[in-house]
Symmetry: C5
Subunit: 87 residues, 5 copies
Amino acid sequence: MDIMQVEDSLVCSRRVPGLANVSLRVLRSRSGSRAVAVDTIGTRPGNWVFTISGSAARLAVGSKILTDLSIGGIIDRWDEDSRAALD
Amino acid sequence: MDIMQVEDSLVCSRRVPGLANVSLRVLRSRSGSRAVAVDTIGTRPGNWVFTISGSAARLAVGSKILTDLSIGGIIDRWDEDSRAALD
Amino acid sequence: MDIMQVEDSLVCSRRVPGLANVSLRVLRSRSGSRAVAVDTIGTRPGNWVFTISGSAARLAVGSKILTDLSIGGIIDRWDEDSRAALD
Amino acid sequence: MDIMQVEDSLVCSRRVPGLANVSLRVLRSRSGSRAVAVDTIGTRPGNWVFTISGSAARLAVGSKILTDLSIGGIIDRWDEDSRAALD
Amino acid sequence: MDIMQVEDSLVCSRRVPGLANVSLRVLRSRSGSRAVAVDTIGTRPGNWVFTISGSAARLAVGSKILTDLSIGGIIDRWDEDSRAALD
């Protein structure tokens, strides 16, 4: 599972049926790469979250949602800068 | 799920049976790497899309299509340059 | 399976149901990237461990825990520095 | 699915039972990394192909072949140099 | 499937039940990254092998062994240096 920060929502009118009516978020990793994840717990921009990938991503949000990445939880406190300082 | 841009179609006469008669697109990520995805929603070159990988890719387009990457949706607006400027 | 070092615990009050009541650890790879894993064997900060990813991660800790990364074992001795010196 | 070029065959006398009697090819990506794939369609060195990974790789060549990478098709025309020039 | 070289065994007294009593090897890729794999064919340090990842890794060595990486075969001849010279 990876640690990423919520950037904003993804607006996407035309989708495959297996992802209709789910909330999609654009996430950004510390290294600057972006990914799209299903959000079932209601995150906001700026939240640090951890993500679940693969078949577990699907099972975690209900197996009919055909995602490969889901938000697994909101991290209570995450200080990216102090972590980076340890490296 | 990842964000990529449609470059063009992939012409491929000789394929395994599990991928016969499906539309394949060459996608390009922001970093310049390329991938091939199944397209069931009718994308055009230049569209920004998000992709589904792994077993979800297969389920999203019908489980008899043996892909590991499928186009999940067309993003309504994606300004790669302004995103990059935030980094 | 990958080799990583336990950094600390991850405090995360709000989670998807499939990860309620499990211990989560922040791990750090040699290259400095971080990941979150389920810990069912009781590791401590500083331990070198190997991790199991994908569907095996889920099966290794009980298939109702919806993780994509689990700690598989604690390595008896791991001298990262002497390994690095071989490279 | 990824785009790679066939380099040559892989000679491997001692294998796990799930990969006995299949043709293995060494593939090379544009960035120079190498991978091994099952070939059921008869590729030759120099062919540009696309590859299927994960569980789809197994299903694409018959689920008793325990591979994580299979050649999915031969690309009719692929001009790596002109693609690279676009980047 | 990837090409890696066997470095040595991994001694790991405390493990999850799904990996008890299996031989684990530390492998090293050409780029210097390390991984841990289940070995059911009896490799020795210095051998060049190819590895199977994902759910196929598990099936290749018996589905009760909860690994995400297994050694698939020993390569008869592998000259890393002459390959590198081609790049």
